[in-house]
Symmetry: C2
Subunit: 343 residues, 2 copies
DNA sequence: CACTGGACGTTGTACGTATAACGTCCGTCG
DNA sequence: CGACGGACGTTATACGTACAACGTCCAGTG
């Protein structure tokens, strides 16, 4: 039911182009010079395009006895360090026609005890973060079963979605700050065109709209400490009454905001309350520790995989967003009294 | 030359056990009940073990038209967040006999433009971090070309190695602190049995041994902020003259050390100079920013891949460690004068 | 004694690809 | 006019596996 009939093979392409399977292989393998006429070659390529032909890698690898794929074993993906290792290796590999597959070795009761299990061929399905949207066209082209993470449920090309309840997280943050007495808000938004960030802005605005006297300004920065520092500094130094609460789209942005506050001589939380979102290790390394929203990344992954398994087995994935939790730490406090009379 | 002859197939196993290839498939696929005698099944398993037989995944996948492999597309591996997503997905996947392959979507001028290239079958070779040593036995079992990252050059089972010049980094840290006037050192070591951490301790001790009046104490913690906090607090509160310089095996440990110092009422860098190693985003988020050693992770990955390509092509990999760089920031300063007389 | 059926395997085939080994047609040259 | 060779393809095969379809042998049954 999933993808109608079966995937086209090189033989299907051959039939469509009116040639033999061997000719297709020669043309697509770019070994046709002096063996096939240019006109025929073009016909073959056209047929392949029309049918959406993709070579079967398992068959190719079996035939060639070679995979042009390499495994990178790393201890665990808990730091930016091995992410960089991967990036560098993948770049060089690509230049040589190789691919790289990541195998983060299990911590504790490891999942896959056999590293080579990770290296099977082709794909049965895909789990994709909405932040990696650029890769999605290629994915859809293959008609593979797809599960989207943190993506707009109404605009996901009909794919199943698994979402964290980010809206609720933002709501909790807003309510926490409002309860402390804050009314002038600044939103340090991530400059990333992804549903999961869009929903943050939308929900924060909605919550504050319902509160008399609350005001909201917004500034925007790419997710990096330096960019966040610059944007936050500019926004906090802008004319007009200074915000007392700074809501950041994630923890890294909040780290930049800390530095901006320091530069401007503002103390956290006395002069400015700051919140983040993610609860990275960074959050509790900051001084004061950051009030933020804890996202259960592992559960997120589990639910994503379970949803994909459901799709593969023809079942309907479970619905329901994954709950998130506000973690109150030292970066939020009541605003100082607005005027000396309270003194 | 690499792996002598070719890998054993199920037919080789069959011949060794004196049965047909089909019987081997039945036994190893656990479908032999009522079809093969228990004695014969045992003979087959034994032969497979003796020959070191591993099924050819490309062939299996071709035959089954199914891979039990799933792709996880994530934006980029720059935070702990997606590491957790991977871990969770991999755990559930493993419980269902699936493997997960990571495809971090390219940032900027991405390397592999086709996500599916990453998902080819089997392996031509392996790049492994020395921190993932537990996976190495399985790897060696397959006789695959192997490159080790940050591993003891003399104890790597004859595999090629690519190393960062960590020893030089530690030397630079020590010299920097010595030049500032420090003499009483505390080493906050990572409690990880890996060459790359062993060399840190060794080199620091060697450097300080050569300096008259210098003393070195060591404490040890797993790589986590909380564990580092506990270990550093205990060590700093220990009787005897307090160290003036705290050398940490990596940035995360240093973040824990900051918190320990804060708890004890020590100010960084006035009362205690602190250094890290890695230069993660964390390092510049700390207050004061952390003096640390910058490791070029991407270059590390590139060199690793290049070495593997060399091995695959029968060439000898380039030798030479990758240079690292001391980054001096605000966490290191001269120690306060040891006695009031200097006042 | 003829027949049945379980126990124990084997033979054969297909998955989709790449490429070696063959044709065939025709223009050209000696 | 016979032969030759380049241009343009095709046929056949193998990679290693899983499993459907077939034997064969012998104990038990009517």
């Amino acid at each position: 039911m999933a993808s109608g009939s079966t995937r086209p093979t090189s033989r299907d392409v051959a039939q469509a182009a009116g040639v033999s399977q061997a000719a297709v292989s020669l043309v697509l393998g770019d070994k046709w010079r002096g063996r096939v006429s240019a006109a025929t070659a073009e016909r073959v390529r056209e047929a392949a395009r029309d049918l959406g032909y993709r070579p079967n890698l398992a068959a190719r690898n079996l035939r060639l006895g070679r995979t042009r794929t390499v495994l990178l074993v790393v201890p665990a993906l808990t730091t930016e360090f091995f992410a960089g290792v991967y990036t560098g290796a993948a770049r060089v590999a690509a230049e040589h026609g190789f691919g790289v597959v990541l195998y983060p070795s299990p911590e504790g009761v490891g999942p896959a005890r056999d590293p080579f299990h990770s290296a099977q061929a082709a794909l049965d399905g895909v789990i994709a973060s909405s932040m990696a949207a650029d890769a999605l066209t290629a994915i859809r082209g293959d008609q593979l079963p797809l599960v989207m993470l943190d993506s707009d449920p109404h605009g996901s090309l009909g794919a199943a979605t698994v979402n964290l309840d980010i809206a609720d997280g933002v709501r909790q943050v807003a309510d926490h700050l409002l309860a402390l007495g804050h009314r002038r808000f600044l939103h340090l938004a991530a400059d990333v065109p992804s549903w999961t960030f869009h929903i943050r802005a939308q929900e924060l605005a909605a919550r504050l709209d319902g509160t008399p006297g609350a005001t909201l300004r917004t500034t925007r920065a790419p997710i990096s400490i330096e960019d966040a520092l610059a944007a936050a500094e500019a926004a906090l130094a802008a004319p007009g009454p200074r915000p007392t609460a700074l809501v950041c789209d994630d923890d890294k942005l909040a780290a930049g905001a800390y530095k901006a506050a320091r530069r401007l001589g503002l103390r956290v939380p006395e002069d400015l309350s700051v919140t983040g979102l993610d609860d990275l290790a960074l959050a509790s390394a900051l001084d004061p520790e950051l009030t933020t929203v804890r996202l259960d990344a592992e559960l997120f992954g589990e639910r994503g995989m379970e949803a994909l398994l459901a799709v593969l087995e023809g079942r309907t994935p479970e619905q329901g967003d994954i709950p998130v939790e506000l973690v109150v730490r030292g970066s939020t406090a009541p605003p100082r009294p607005p005027d000396p009379r309270a003194w």
